[in-house]
Assembly symmetry: C2
């Protein structure tokens, strides 16, 4: 058990804290990819990060909480590196949705990203407090971007004025997430495209009168 005094807040200590924090997040992401969530332990994260177990428990209540912050840091970094900050809006709604959904398929097929996301979705399903943070901090910002794109399409008259945008967003991401988490079939670009085409046919400008 290490026992550095957490209240000793000299500039050096603060820099050291930030280094430890980053090492812990990196270790958690690396380990969940290597051993899977079920075999991941706070002890192993601490050993990999070169800190004591108590350092982790001072900042996080559980391995799931460490992973959530690690995933938030990862998605923040991806955005900073010029990745996905907004939704494409080329005027072609189907093309824009397919581009984003295909990128999501690729991301979910890459264990670096997928292993912690899968672990968090699973842990959140049975831990309402963690689940609420996961959904609010990691999922909702992404859903909001979809919704914004659909809103502009609705304003442009490309989809039916009666479309419930939130339901439409979940009709796009729901089947993808379902197939990914429950492994009911191969997660492919073709699947993403088919979902986009069918959802758009269902909310097409003429759909309310169909």
């Amino acid at each position: 058990m290490t026992s550095k005094n957490p209240d000793a807040k000299a500039p050096d200590a603060s820099r050291r804290s930030e280094r430890s924090r980053q090492a812990i997040l990196d270790a958690a992401l690396a380990l969940v990819g290597e051993v899977g969530y079920n075999r991941l332990t706070v002890e192993a994260i601490a050993a990999r990060a070169g800190v004591g177990k108590q350092t982790i428990y001072r900042w996080w209540p559980s391995k799931a909480a460490v992973l959530l912050d690690a995933s938030l840091a990862l998605s923040g970094k991806a955005a900073d590196e010029g990745g996905w900050t907004g939704f494409p809006d080329t005027g072609d709604l189907a093309a824009d949705l397919k581009a984003v959904m295909r990128a999501t398929v690729d991301e979910l097929s890459d264990e670096t990203y997928a292993a912690p996301a899968r672990a968090l979705a699973a842990a959140g399903a049975t831990d309402p407090g963690l689940g609420a943070r996961f959904t609010e901090q990691l999922l909702e910002p992404q859903l909001a971007l979809y919704e914004e794109r659909l809103r502009s399409a609705r304003e442009a008259g490309h989809i039916s004025p009666g479309t419930d945008l939130r339901v439409a967003v979940e009709m796009l991401v729901g089947p993808l997430t379902y197939r990914w988490l429950l492994r009911t079939g191969p997660l492919t670009h073709a699947f993403a495209d088919e979902v986009v085409d069918r959802v758009l046919a269902g909310i097409a400008a003429h759909a309310d009168t169909a």
Copy 2:
């Protein structure tokens, strides 16, 4: 540690085994509803069932495996009691799908059924072996009933001949499961109805030419 000889197979022992097995499954279902999956332990299941921990480990490798068999027994019992054995086919596809999806919403809002299902979906997401059994034994038989109903609708000309039935099924159950597992919004009959209406508009008989 209890240590009855598992190889002593007199008729009495076999009846006792079956009683123990049923007590273990009942205890697992009751406890997961009471304490949640994360705090569920094999020890607690054994204590509630009045058996030794080793009796459970003789038959199941983990609490998740016990829960899977308990859920299979529960869904088998529901079917035996005149519950849901087939899909309604009144000729009105929308009405039939809404009836089933609304019943699913009710079921997922009842913790007796929902707690083990949620736990299994979560455990399966991070344990591919368990996930495969969960999907194959518990999910696929349900998906097959949806697919069968959609096939008869396609044959009757009520939906487009180009409909990929499997994708259509996942477009129905995916958003419902997504909202249930990730708690992205209230799981209501209105949500189920909206998903059915939009999916059907997307696969309507005229949709391929839309």
